[in-house]
């Protein structure tokens, strides 16, 4: 059923009893054209675009837990396309454009809020780097504004300008950056895919791949064998575990990233702000909580929880730029498992096994990529060739030396 303000009013007047399920709860069919493993943001988006853009509707998305239970359900909701490198920036700008039309496209209010993202800078070299990055963004058709300290002060007068260990020298602002209600993205794509006939099968865990003559012909699950012409895996956080079932080792380590939210407050922040001399990023949700995060804990883990040193480090970063939040209380912290790749950039590629496709390695930047990742994965699955904005996200790029290393820290995943 279509959603609109009128429908909300009509249903309100008739007791809200006419709302239909947002998606079905189908049993798996014996076979599909395409199976996507992982009903997270990327997997659901891929299914949605497979159906909508490429006309492939005989699709199943299978999920070991509940749909949206991965990192789409536990991130800090930031969207941006402020990348430096040519391998990345056009892709993320494509994603930004998809965000901008998403809600009307899938008829769901995901609260895409383009209130801007401001990265603070605290040194001359950092300002030089921001300048270079801002120009990269502009060359790719994105928006970028360089601010000096006065410009930052005008926008965020509450930041610590007078007593800072690392004084704020300016910043780079992407006005089109912002936040999106993360769960709603999963729900919107799920509902959109379901309405086009895609089967979303929850509580269905992949236990292996069906391999025939070296070709992937489907998946084994705890609910039986499901065959498919093509299998796409989009299980960031669990990529290592799942792809190991196909005998693959990946240029990926699993790490935990903690995220945090405070108690609700009346409006405080204009948009997203990031600290440049420590690792801290923050926005305010529509409900009023400050949503923030910082570094990954830094050790391999599959436990969705972190430890105190990072909690304290992140909060120190927050207090360093905003000493006004000292009496605001941290309400909840949680952890999500990240596919930390060897250059900090993702993969959307065929594997060396025919019929098996891989989407992963999103580090802790996968949320903003959701629409483009889904679109490009769908493109790859449908046409067997990469989407023009995702040609660099190949699994063999390290063998060739074609790394996409935004941070310049090399093959050490926990530094990206």
């Amino acid at each position: 059923m279509g959603y609109s303000g009128w429908k909300v009013i009509w249903q309100g007047l008739t007791g809200n009893t006419g709302w239909k399920p947002a998606w079905r709860e189908p049993d798996p069919k014996p076979s599909y054209d395409v199976i996507i493993v992982g009903a997270g943001g990327h997997g659901l988006a891929a299914a949605y675009y497979l159906a909508k853009e490429f006309g492939i509707t005989n699709v199943a998305v299978i999920e070991k837990g509940w749909l949206g239970s991965g990192n789409i359900g536990r991130n800090t909701t930031i969207i941006r396309s402020n990348y430096l490198l040519p391998g990345n920036e056009p892709f993320y700008e494509f994603s930004m454009k998809l965000w901008e039309g998403l809600e009307q496209d899938f008829n769901y209010n995901a609260m895409v809020s383009q209130r801007g993202i401001l990265n603070l800078c605290h040194s001359d070299p950092q300002r030089d780097a921001f300048n270079r990055r801002g120009n990269s963004m502009r060359l790719a058709g994105a928006d970028a504004v360089l601010l000096d300290a006065d410009g930052v002060r005008e926008m965020c007068p509450f930041l610590d300008f007078d007593n800072a260990r690392f004084p704020i020298k300016g910043g780079i602002l992407q006005p089109r950056g912002g936040t999106v209600r993360h769960d709603a993205v999963a729900w919107g794509y799920a509902r959109g895919a379901d309405s086009q006939g895609v089967d979303i099968i929850q509580n269905c865990e992949v236990t292996g791949f069906v391999m025939e003559s070296g070709v992937c012909m489907g998946v084994e699950t705890n609910r039986g064998t499901i065959r498919a012409k093509k299998v796409g895996v989009a299980v960031a956080g669990s990529s290592g575990r799942v792809m190991a079932k196909a005998g693959m080792r990946l240029p990926i380590e699993s790490h935990v990233l903690q995220a945090f939210v405070t108690e609700g407050l009346k409006p405080v922040l204009p948009g997203v702000i990031t600290f440049g001399a420590g690792h801290f990023y923050v926005s305010q949700s529509d409900k009023g909580g400050l949503v923030f995060g910082g570094d990954i804990d830094g050790y391999n883990t599959y436990a969705q929880r972190g430890n105190l040193p990072v909690v304290e480090d992140v909060c120190e970063g927050g207090m360093a730029i905003m000493p006004m939040i000292g009496r605001t209380r941290l309400l909840r912290s949680w952890g999500g498992i990240m596919d930390m790749s060897m250059d900090g950039s993702p993969f959307i590629d065929k594997t060396h096994i025919d019929g098996l496709y891989f989407n992963g390695g999103w580090c802790y930047g996968g949320f903003k990529a959701t629409p483009a990742s889904g679109f490009c994965f769908a493109h790859l699955l449908a046409k067997d060739e990469p989407h023009p904005t995702a040609t660099k996200y190949r699994l063999d790029r390290f063998r060739r030396g074609a790394m996409i290393d935004e941070k310049g820290v090399g093959a050490q995943p926990n530094l990206h």
């Binding site: 239970s69 008829n107 209130r115 409006p267 207090m319 912290s333 030396g401």
Partner: protein, 982 residues
């Protein structure tokens, strides 16, 4: 105003009166009161407004699970939003205001949303506000944001200080109720190192809220005596006002101690202390939280948890109402009736969902066994209740008990799953507890007193035995087990009116049913779609009911339906406490160079580089712009001599028989052939072939080298070399020591550098060009015998040296050097002049060594030896790193010399559009060259080395600039290096 609801008894100090205000109205209370108990004593039942519908609300609870009674405490920069009145300790002069309303608390304009609630059901906002597209950020969202949120912050820096500390113990006891006290006493008497922490300011937990006896005395008296005994033990740390908020790996717990929150001012003391507790064992005795029952308009002021009503009466001597009704599904609710009745409070009714005989005689009360409350009457405070059987009963307070849920939160912080216990209709700790943790008392589902005391004692004994200690805890305190029968009952299905589950976030039974209808059936979907359990109380009183309702909707059992995951912190923790002292200027430590004090005296401007503070330039009288100072420093250095503190460069002392071979492997170029007494430039790659760092390494002896690194990479390079030494080549005889802070080092540069140095270097060390040529090094003495090291190396392109002395002589040396240089008009120069001169000379620095550039990109491809093994050489040969149009570091100058170059500009060929496909590289470093009189730059451009003299555009879109530049050699001055060698 009189305290009209104050009754007899209680543990408050009635001999002292405290004045406080709420919304500007003045009230009185007593020491021992919470803000909530004092407000209730004064008849102020309504304390706040709900989040979404702005419904009038009073306190539901008497503890930290409170969803409704949130206030803003204190004023000005001390303003503290969302404080639970139920745990805020009363102090003289306390000022509190209610929050989340427009207009007064009583007349909130936003209450209008309640009238439209039918249109605002769970998740309504996902279905609308989509048209027109541009309205979200401009219209809808601002309205939503201003309506949402709870309290306000002051927007002023938090004026209080917060400390952090570390504690260690054999046994951490979390909670100071009967089980916790029993455990702590047993362990303390056995000599174990014990920490017992309780969130309350009064130790004793429910013992203070009940009329039960322990060891023949009142429970509260027993708790007080236990606290005295524990406080007197050297091996026990008794911590009241301390919340253990999280269970982390390996027995580490986070705890927050509120040190001065109960005082008028912090008076210079830390407001709170964040403790990290390292425990060998822990026993969780966090008690239980009562759950309500859902029925129509169950959220109105006056509807409270039965245990809380009893606590207000027994502990605080307050009856929240004059005619109190009880609605229960368990025996515990009856104790509220008996206790209040005994204190003379009129009990109008006891409604028990269970059939059978009344569990107690309550004089004057209507008893309704098998009864159910359907609705309440009274908007800002209830005055009556309506039963399912049609009866209406007068009541200005309805005490509700739906049973108790163990506070198992910390058992789940490491993702342990709880187990369902049908007999008490609740979840108890499961099998997979955090390592070292056990659970006792009500937190373990052991709800009766004697059993809780025994379980706490036993848990302590087990923990001590585990640790190899002998339990000598003595006898278990004696008490009776009270009646505790409960029959699950979650909501009154006959209620037509909305029935609340999550009171703060306004989630009702209908919302759960809607979520189910719309397929948001997993517990996590339910929570996220309806916002249930996401308020400041994290659903402590709401989650269980919602779970039961969803189970009912799906036809599954409650354990099949699942639970949401408990996450730290147990109760919210101020950001200030988590940051501690690491804020403001103390966010990170400062590292100061040995010449810092001297530079301060010279009026230097300092710049932060990493943790270091370095002199950026030294303004002289009359100089109004930094460029004047920097140009002067450069000109004076190139003209005569200048001195710069370069101590911040990393220094690594390398010794051992295999030191030379070791360097051969970590640097791309050869070091085995370096003569003693010589210095060589070295380039280091990461294993992936990218340039990691560069610097010079001096050979002071056959088996002794001193390496310098860049300032930024001093730590990482040292770590990397230790990795190579210990993990890759453990057989090598080589040892490393970081001596960055051990030596003060100064660059002395300029045509008169030697002459100046000759005045301080002791005469038995010849530093003539013949005896001490370019790239020479040696151990010398200065100023009459002080140990020093001299390196003839140059970053500026001039005749230059770096001279190092033990750090403690750094201050003396800078003074000696400046004095010796007076006759040459020596200048001190800072990092800006250093940067100008290195760009003029074409040296790569941090802006070029980005970790994304290869040796070839930097124009040093030929340095990478193919004849030996070194870190990075294999992978640097990969095809994508060796293409014909690779980026190359070259120089740039503006075609129009009056134009300034910009770092970060991208290169685009003339006549091509400024899009990414035409991007040929970027400008990495720029400066105004005083020597050349115009702007110059270094940058990376495709095939740069083959394009000398070509004109391209440097496009700086973010500054609306697009200028023509010429590709030139990066060596702007003295390209042959003659000046270095004179």
């Amino acid at each position: 105003m009189t305290q009209k609801n104050r009754i007899t008894g209680g543990l408050v100090d009635r001999s002292t009166t405290l004045n406080f205000s709420f919304n500007g109205n003045r009230f009185q209370g007593h020491p021992g009161d919470t803000l909530a108990s004092a407000l209730l004593a004064n008849g102020q039942i309504m304390m706040g407004r709900s989040f979404k519908y702005h419904r009038p609300r009073g306190a539901l609870s008497a503890g930290s699970e409170e969803p409704n009674a949130l206030v803003q405490l204190r004023k000005g920069s001390h303003q503290e939003p969302n404080t639970r009145a139920t745990v805020a300790e009363l102090f003289e002069g306390l000022e509190a205001t209610s929050q989340n309303h427009r207009g007064s608390l009583e007349n909130d304009f936003m209450e209008i949303t309640d009238l439209f609630s039918r249109f605002l059901s769970a998740g309504f906002y996902y279905k609308t506000f989509m048209w027109p597209k541009s309205f979200w950020e401009k219209v809808y969202e601002p309205i939503i944001r201003h309506s949402a949120g709870l309290g306000r912050i002051s927007f002023e820096p938090d004026p209080d200080i917060y400390d952090k500390g570390f504690l260690h113990c054999d046994l951490l006891v979390i909670g100071g109720g009967p089980a916790g006290l029993s455990a702590a006493l047993a362990a303390g008497r056995s000599g174990a190192r014990v920490i017992i922490a309780d969130e309350d300011f009064m130790i004793g937990g429910r013992l203070n809220a009940e009329t039960l006896e322990v060891d023949g005395i009142s429970g509260s008296e027993w708790a007080a005596r236990a606290a005295v005994e524990l406080a007197a033990m050297d091996n026990v740390r008794l911590m009241a006002r301390t919340t253990v908020y999280g269970a982390y790996d390996h027995g580490i717990y986070g705890a927050l101690e509120r040190v001065t929150d109960h005082l008028v001012t912090s008076n210079g003391k830390p407001r709170q202390i964040l403790w990290r507790v390292y425990s060998r064992r822990a026993v969780l005795c966090a008690g239980a939280t009562e759950r309500p029952i859902a029925f129509g308009n169950n959220d109105r002021p006056g509807v409270m948890l039965a245990g809380a009503v009893r606590a207000y009466a027994n502990r605080w001597g307050v009856s929240p109402g004059k005619r109190v009704a009880i609605f229960t599904n368990n025996d515990d609710g009856w104790r509220t009736a008996s206790d209040l009745s005994r204190q003379g409070v009129n009990i109008s009714a006891v409604i028990d969902t269970r059939d059978g005989e009344p569990r107690a005689q309550i004089p004057g009360a209507t008893i309704a066994m098998g009864g159910r409350v359907m609705d309440t009457r009274g908007r800002k405070a209830i005055h009556s209740i309506k039963l399912v059987d049609g009866r209406t009963i007068d009541a200005d307070c309805l005490a509700v008990s739906g049973g108790w849920n163990p506070n198992i939160h910390l058992t789940g912080h490491q993702r342990g799953r709880p187990a369902w216990r049908e007999d008490i209709s609740t979840f108890v700790p499961g099998q997979d507890l955090p390592a070292g943790m056990s659970v006792a008392g009500a937190a373990n589902g052991t709800f009766t007193l004697a059993a809780a005391l025994a379980e706490g004692h036993a848990a302590s004994d087990r923990a001590l035995s585990d640790l190899g200690m002998t339990p000598k805890g003595g006898d278990i305190a004696k008490a009776e087990d009270e009646a505790a029968n409960v029959t699950a009952f979650w909501h009154v299905s006959e209620s037509k009116a909305r029935a609340w589950l999550d009171q703060q976030n306004d989630v009702t039974v209908k919302d759960i049913k809607l979520a189910h209808r719309e397929s948001f059936r997993s517990v996590e979907h339910l929570k996220r779609y309806t916002t249930l359990g996401m308020a400041t109380d994290q659903g402590k009183t709401a989650n269980m009911l919602a779970l039961a309702l969803m189970a009912e909707c799906t036809g599954k059992t409650i354990p099949e339906t699942g639970t949401t995951i408990f996450r730290p912190p147990y109760t919210p923790i101020p950001m200030g406490a988590l940051a501690g002292r690491s804020r403001g200027k103390d966010f990170r430590p400062y590292r100061l160079t040995p010449s810092h004090k001297w530079a301060e005296e010279q009026g230097a401007i300092f710049v932060t580089t990493g943790m270091w503070l370095r002199s950026q330039w030294f303004p002289q009288p009359g100089e109004t712009h930094w460029r004047e100072s920097v140009d002067r420093e450069v000109a004076a250095t190139r003209g005569s001599v200048g001195i710069c503190d370069v101590t911040t460069l990393g220094k690594i002392d390398i010794q051992g028989r295999d030191a030379a071979e070791f360097l051969n492997k970590v640097y791309v170029n050869g070091f085995a052939t370096l003569d003693v007494g010589k210095v060589r430039y070295g380039l280091m790659l990461r294993e992936d072939g990218m340039a990691m760092d560069d610097g010079t390494t001096a050979r002071l002896g056959k088996n002794h080298f001193v390496m310098t690194t860049t300032t930024a990479n001093a730590g990482p390079v040292f770590r990397h070399m230790e990795f190579c030494r210990q993990c890759l080549w453990p057989d090598m005889d080589v040892h490393l020591i970081s001596t960055t802070d051990g030596w003060a080092q100064f660059a002395v540069a300029g045509p008169n550098a030697r002459k100046l140095l000759q005045k301080v270097v002791d005469s038995d060390h010849s530093i003539t060009n013949e005896d001490f040529p370019f790239m020479a090094c040696g151990e010398i003495t200065v100023c009459g015998g002080t140990t020093a090291r001299l390196f003839r190396i140059s970053f500026s392109g001039e005749l230059a040296y770096e001279i190092a002395v033990p750090a403690r002589y750094g201050d003396s040396l800078i003074r000696a050097l400046m004095a010796a240089g007076e006759e040459f008009n020596v200048v001190a120069y800072g990092t800006e002049a250093l940067g100008v001169m290195r760009i003029e000379k074409g040296h790569a620095a941090g802006n070029e060594l980005t970790g994304q550039t290869t040796a070839a990109n930097l124009g040093m491809g030929r340095m990478v030896s193919k004849k030996k093994d070194c870190i990075g050489n294999v992978l640097s040969e990969r095809p994508a790193l060796n293409q014909d149009d690779d980026l190359r570091l070259v120089g740039f100058k503006p075609v129009n010399k009056s134009e300034a170059l910009a770092s970060g500009a991208h290169f685009i060929a003339r006549g091509k559009s400024a899009v990414m496909a035409n991007d040929e590289g970027w400008m990495s470093s720029v400066t105004f060259s005083p020597e050349l009189g115009h702007s110059i730059g270094l940058g990376f451009i495709k095939s740069g080395q083959e394009r000398m003299g070509e004109i391209v555009r440097a496009v700086d879109l973010v500054h609306n600039k697009d200028i023509e530049v010429e590709i030139v050699s990066p060596h702007f001055i003295d390209p042959e290096g003659d000046r270095l060698r004179v």
